[in-house]
Amino acid sequence: MYLKRKKITQLLIASGVLLGSNFAFANDNDELEKLRTLVQELDQKVRVLDRKSELAAEEAVAKKKETPVLVASDKGFALESADKKFQFKLSGLLQADQRTFLDDDTTTGVAGGNLNDEYLLRRVRPTFSGTLFGIYDFRFTPDFAPNTPNVQDAFINARFTPWFKVQAGKFKVPGSLERLQSGGDIRFVERSYVANAILPNRDTGVQLHGDVLNGKLTYAAGIFDGQADGGSSGTSGSNNGDSNKDKEYALRVFAEPFKGSDTIFDGLGLGIAGTTGDFSKTAGSLANTNYRSAGQQTIFQYAADVLGDGQQTRISPQFYYYYGPFGVIGEYAKSSLDAKRGSNEATLDNDAWQIAATYVLTGENNSFKSIAPKRDFDLEKGGWGAWEIAARYSELNLDSRAFTGAAGVRFANAASTTKSAESWALGLNWYLNKNVKIQTTYEQTKFESALVNVRDRADEKALFTRFQVAF
């Protein structure tokens, strides 16, 4: 097109020159000047047309960038509008575990021995999530791993401003730091007692949350149906219906005072979380409250007729620190529950704590989230992914008043005699790439019996191996 116009212009110029010569020959300078002007005007018009067509082509390229795009990346699969205000994403988490119990104690009268080794699906969670109008997020995550599939997350989150967001539905209660870490990002195959036994997991409710001071302080304040220690709404039944008629209030504040400072304190975070609620109107018993070992064995349950008899309050100071390849996370949680069994009434104080350190051997930056390998595992190109070692110590301590009295009186059920568990764990995590992880944890637990005439539960020596795909 451009060349064609150029030729026309040249012809016009040539004809102008020829005509001009004729007229000049005729000594008609005015006519020559008019023709020159005309040619110049035509030349400008041709140039403008060319430029406009050039700009139109540039605009077409720019517009192409505005059409909705289908994205497939390590973050999952998504369909999104060009301005990203409308998004629909499919992501997922699949964990296939092997659980082996070593050195089984088969001594007569010792509980917790001779445990079954097993292969199991720990989490099978497709997630459908998205955003509408750039503000309203939604997320729906079922879990097909349990015998009865359940809804893990189903919520709407409206991000009105960074400091004012409203979330409603079923989601993680703002409590345990390790619980708030995604199930695909945890550094040990199983979480510690703080997340699993004391603080609530997921619940149905509504919360206000956000971050202030340029993200240095985050807060979440919510009202939920209320869960017993380690409980999760809908784990064994409906996501609807409140087992205790009053609501439970949760608050969590977490500060990262040096965030963005480019100093060694940049990755330091400190916080406190707590819940409180009146459990005196509990409709059912607390028997479903399940305190489990790392090997997911039930080590304590209340008797079937134990009821809430007042306030349940939990508090949990927590911190993490990440610097280069090093990371440490620690949290403590204490739960106080007014309980009764017949005429036996008491405030039961249970607590747990954990401290865990990790180090990425291959030099990647450690963080609360997963590790992104510098070089993916690739035999042909010679990459080995990222390797991380981990160590943890954690404890669970149950109130000795739960074991006071005869079997028909005390709060603990007849089979529950363990009052404390002390666990240490070592882990080796191999991140083949951002999405695939092979994780091994060895965790050994020593139990202490609350009853003098009952022997301690057998030490649990559990070796876990996990193959995980998260996208």
Partner: protein
């Protein structure tokens, strides 16, 4: 047991802080999202800053740059372009980052000297050698038959400065008669054969494609075109009145906090105010702020009678709403 937890936590924290692993040089990258004609300025500046930062902090910093019409660039940042710093053509575009994107605080302009504008510029005319159409002032630009090249004020910051400079001249000439100013600027846009999206595009149209009799240009862009292509091809004409353009700079808070680049991004902008930074600006034909550099380059910049965005336009928010918002004066003029 709780005390054991606390003691152990304190011990680990103390060990971590007391023995702060090996602090090694890091590689940092920044993205500077800028307006159209700053390519050469930031090419020089980025190289100088990288040297400065390596000497000061020991870190290797790589600054990538993105250039385009200022308004368009602001929209890109709001839409998710991870700009560590924005160096745009006018304060209104940075205000959009605060108002629409919530990416910077509303008082961003107070964070650096001179309302966060480390250098200034103005609007001049670039004409072809010999000034064949005898363009000397704004009155000549609006004459019938004069072909004027200027970008689209909807997308380009430079174009908005051009428009407002013409408006200010018309107001002064017509005793602040807004209707006459509108008519004057309307005549000007009747003479515009093609609207580019940014100032650099207009320079291409005028200089490389050979379209038009006069380019309304940033002073720095006009000097640069003359330097690159030779004074034998173009001449700069200084109008009797123009406008003081104050291109602002800011760190994009949301991005630097996410990318953990606040310290280096802030240092990058502060470096613009140093003697070296100001010298680089002046060498690239931006008017410096630092007195010593102003004196050194005094002869380079002609003295011009300048209005500001505050007077007679009442600031950027008002000027934008009146002239460049959808349905504003520009739309009315250009649709005619």
């Amino acid at each position: 047991m709780k005390t054991a937890f606390l003691s152990l936590s304190a011990l680990i924290a103390a060990l971590a802080f007391a023995n702060p692993l090996t602090v090694s040089a890091a590689e940092v990258s920044l993205l500077n999202v800028s307006y159209d004609p700053t390519r050469e300025l930031y090419q020089d500046f980025n190289a100088a800053f990288a040297k400065y930062w390596q000497a000061k902090a020991g870190d290797k910093v790589t600054v990538k740059a993105s250039h385009g019409g200022s308004g368009k660039q602001a929209r890109s940042i709001i839409d998710g372009l991870d700009a560590d710093v924005a160096t745009l053509a006018l304060a209104y575009d940075v205000d959009q980052l605060a108002d629409k994107g919530k990416l910077v605080p509303k008082d961003w302009q107070k964070r650096l000297p001179h309302n966060s504008s480390p250098y200034t510029s103005t609007i001049v005319f670039l004409v072809r050698k010999g000034n064949p159409k005898a363009i000397k002032d704004w009155d000549d630009v609006v004459k019938p038959g004069i072909s004027v090249i200027t970008p689209n004020p909807k997308t380009s910051g430079g174009a908005r400065w051009n428009y407002l400079a013409a408006w200010a001249y018309a107001l002064k000439k017509n005793n602040n008669d807004e209707a006459k100013a509108k008519e004057f600027v309307g005549k000007l846009y009747k003479n515009v054969p093609v609207l580019d999206t940014g100032a650099r595009g207009s320079t291409t149209t005028f200089v490389e494609r050979g379209i038009g009799d006069v380019l309304l240009a940033w002073e720095n862009e006009a000097f640069l075109a003359q330097k690159e292509l030779g004074p034998d091809k173009f001449e700069i004409v200084v109008p009797s009145l123009s406008i003081l353009a104050e291109p602002p700079v800011t760190v994009v808070d949301k991005v630097v906090d996410k990318r953990k680049t606040r310290a280096v991004a802030t240092a990058y902008l502060q470096y613009l105010y140093t003697e070296e930074g100001q010298e680089i600006a002046a060498k690239n034909y931006y008017r410096p702020r630092l007195e010593s550099v102003v004196k050194k380059y005094e002869k380079q910049f002609p003295k011009i009678n300048l209005v500001t965005i505050d007077s007679p336009f009442g600031g950027w928010q008002k000027a934008q709403a009146t002239h460049f918002a959808d349905g504003g004066v520009f739309d009315q003029i250009y649709q005619k």
